[in-house]
């Protein structure tokens, strides 16, 4: 008898929700909590479930005017107790012990509360089931690490795309621009050299032309002198002939011959004069050309190469741009001294540090992604196996197969492999599937948890099928607690045991 009593679980609640003080005893098997509407059935379940984890209960766990409360459970010959206190700020804190089989996942896998939406689970879509299995299989720890790593990678990547890193990445381009300026500087220097040597050549050419003109002038002047001397000689000859003519008889043959001689001499003089005039023009022309050449030479010597100024200006400009480009390169390689994260540091060093971190984080992400995938695949496989077994063992005809696919989408297949959309299921079928999914979750992830609680799901349910499922659960879980509405009871709460 003593041993039997020790197997019972006694739950005592004090000032929890609307319940002042209550004591309930649950025996191995099915325990039905019967009570009228709004008498605290769900409060009992909630109160009991606070003993499954060290989660901080919400402030409404205590009745509004109560400062203290208590949840006490007698289990396996020991008492486990949680004291609840309301702080001056209105929050509730809890102190005490959890049950030895406590597990924070139990609320999701072993407590089917209507208000927490058991039914909603099957209509919640792939996002819900992925999260549900993640939480139950602890895959959420992996996904938290993956998300944190990814966030860090994103943060580092954001940093690497900041303006200072962008300027640094532009260094090869700046180097190309600098090289281009170097090449332009060389071209400008070459142009200056060419201009200078072309000017020198021009000067040499002018000097040589002057030399040659001077030589021509000497020749032509000598010729002019010769012509002048020839003219003087001819004039002298004419004068001698005139003298001779005066001494000769007028009509004599000699006189005629002398006159012819004089006439010839005059013609010669005229010719020489004409030649002299021509020669003078030549000399004048050469002199004028020579003067022009000398003037050109003086001007060229005075002015120097025509475009030199322009070219030298260009060269200076290029040199200034080279200095500016070098400064730009110098700035791009370092963080400014007032940078809040990396003051004065070399970008190349910081960049490689960040890249190393990203590489490491990518490895971490990859490692945990693989682990996450393995865990989730295994969790889904075992979950699907437990669903299939439950359906098989319950002998629920009408359903061929119910499973989560690799995208965590729930598929409900009727016999004949016909897919049934979840929305088209009856309320009773939705409840059946929900309970079986929850039981499958419990068997997959919390096989040793000794309780399975179903709160008021009988309202819209086929009683025969409900008890078939409840009895099935009873065979797999030591303590099954079911709440049930009973309007005939006057504010009392009773527990009926069905072994």
């Amino acid at each position: 008898m003593q041993a039997d009593t020790q197997k019972n679980i006694i739950l005592e609640l004090e000032n929890i929700g609307c319940l002042k003080r209550i004591r309930l005893e649950f025996k191995p098997g099915v325990n039905v909590i019967r009570a009228p509407n709004a008498s605290g059935k769900t409060t009992i379940i909630r109160g009991f479930s606070y003993m499954f984890s060290d989660k901080i209960p919400p402030s409404h766990v205590l009745a509004l005017d109560e400062l203290n409360g208590r949840i006490r459970v007698h289990y396996n010959g020991r008492v486990y107790e949680k004291i609840l206190r309301r702080t001056p700020s209105g929050e509730v804190i809890a102190q005490g012990e959890m049950l030895p089989f406590a597990d924070p996942r139990a609320f999701d896998a072993c407590v089917a509360l209507a208000e927490t939406g058991v039914v909603h689970r099957i209509t919640g879509g792939s996002a819900f089931f992925r999260k549900y299995l993640e939480d139950l299989s602890y895959g959420n720890y992996y996904s938290a690490i993956i998300n944190a790593s990814q966030e860090l990678i994103n943060e580092y990547s954001r940093r690497l795309s900041g303006p200072i890193f962008r300027n640094f990445e532009a260094l090869p381009l700046l180097l190309t621009e600098l090289t281009d300026l170097h090449m332009r500087r060389e071209q400008a220097q070459q142009k200056i050299e060419e201009a200078k040597s072309s000017h020198e050549a021009k000067l040499r050419e002018l000097r040589s032309e002057i030399e040659s003109k001077s030589a021509s002038l000497s020749i032509e002047e000598a010729r002019l002198s010769q012509l002048s001397r020839n003219l003087s000689l001819e004039k002298e000859r004419e004068n001698q002939l005139q003298e001779l003519l005066r001494m000769t008889e007028e009509n004599s043959k000699i006189a005629i011959s002398i006159r012819e001689g004089i006439s010839s001499s005059k013609e010669k003089q005229e010719k020489i004069n004409s030649e002299i005039n021509k020669q003078r023009r030549i000399v004048e022309k050469i002199k004028s050309d020579l003067e022009a050449l000398r003037e050109s030479l003086r001007r060229e010597e005075r002015l120097g190469p025509r475009e030199l100024d322009e070219l030298e200006k260009d060269l200076e400009n290029i040199k200034k741009r080279i200095i500016l480009k070098e400064e730009e390169i110098q700035r791009a390689e370092r963080f400014p001294p007032d940078d809040k994260d990396y003051p004065g540091r070399l970008v190349v060093d910081v960049r490689s540090e960040i890249l190393r971190k990203i590489e490491w984080l990518e490895k971490v992400t990859g490692y945990f992604q693989e682990k996450y995938m393995r865990r989730m695949t295994s969790a889904r496989r075992r979950f699907n196996e437990n669903i299939a077994r439950a359906f098989r063992e319950l002998g629920l005809t009408g359903f061929g197969n119910i499973f989560l696919d690799q995208n965590f989408i729930l598929h409900i297949m009727r016999n004949g492999n016909i897919r049934q959309p979840i929305e088209t299921l009856s309320a009773s079928e939705k409840l059946t599937i929900s309970l079986i999914l929850m039981l499958a979750a419990k068997e997959t992830f919390l096989p040793d948890f000794p309780l399975f609680i179903v709160d008021e799901l009988t309202l819209s349910y086929d009683p025969e099928r409900f008890w078939r499922i409840t009895n099935y659960i009873k065979r797999r879980v030591p303590y099954v607690i079911v709440t049930s509405l009973n309007s005939s009871l006057k504010g009392e709460i009773e527990v009926i045991h069905k072994p």
């Binding site: 170097h182 070098e326 370092r334 070399l346």
Partner: protein, 138 residues
């Protein structure tokens, strides 16, 4: 003709890019010498530049190999055309061909010979230019 154009274009591009890459390396050395750049940044940029130069040199070597092969091919082609020309002469001397046909064929073969020699000369010049870049980069 297309083949000729293609190697020429590749040759010009590679020559230009290599010259630019060598000049960039010079500019980088200059910055380092002037203390305008830290050694880690210099080494980082030099690494990228050396990789680029190495890639271009590989490309250039493969191009030079193709060009040498093309020269060998053209040399054989020239030899063949010369044999054809000699055979043509013999046919003409032996009166197997009339003068008009002889002249026509000789003209065609000579034109082909000239074009082949010109292409060979161009490729040889380009190869010399490639070797010159090699020497100036050292």
């Amino acid at each position: 003709m297309n083949e000729l154009g293609s190697w020429k274009q590749s040759f010009e591009t590679i020559t230009q890019e290599l010259k630019m890459a060598y000049r960039k390396r010079e500019a980088l050395e200059d910055l380092m010498a002037k203390n305008r750049m830290s050694r880690p940044t210099y080494e980082h940029l030099l690494k990228g530049l050396e990789e680029e130069i190495s890639r271009l040199e590989d490309h250039k070597r493969s191009l030079a190999r193709n060009m040498t092969e093309r020269i060998d091919e053209l040399r054989k082609q020239i030899g063949l055309i010369e044999i054809f020309l000699a055979s043509l002469e013999l046919s003409f001397v032996g009166r197997e061909l009339d003068e008009e046909a002889y002249n026509q064929q000789r003209e065609t073969l000579n034109a082909g010979l000239e074009a082949t020699k010109a292409e060979m000369k161009q490729i040889e010049n380009a190869l010399t230019e490639i070797k010159r870049i090699d020497i100036s980069s050292q």
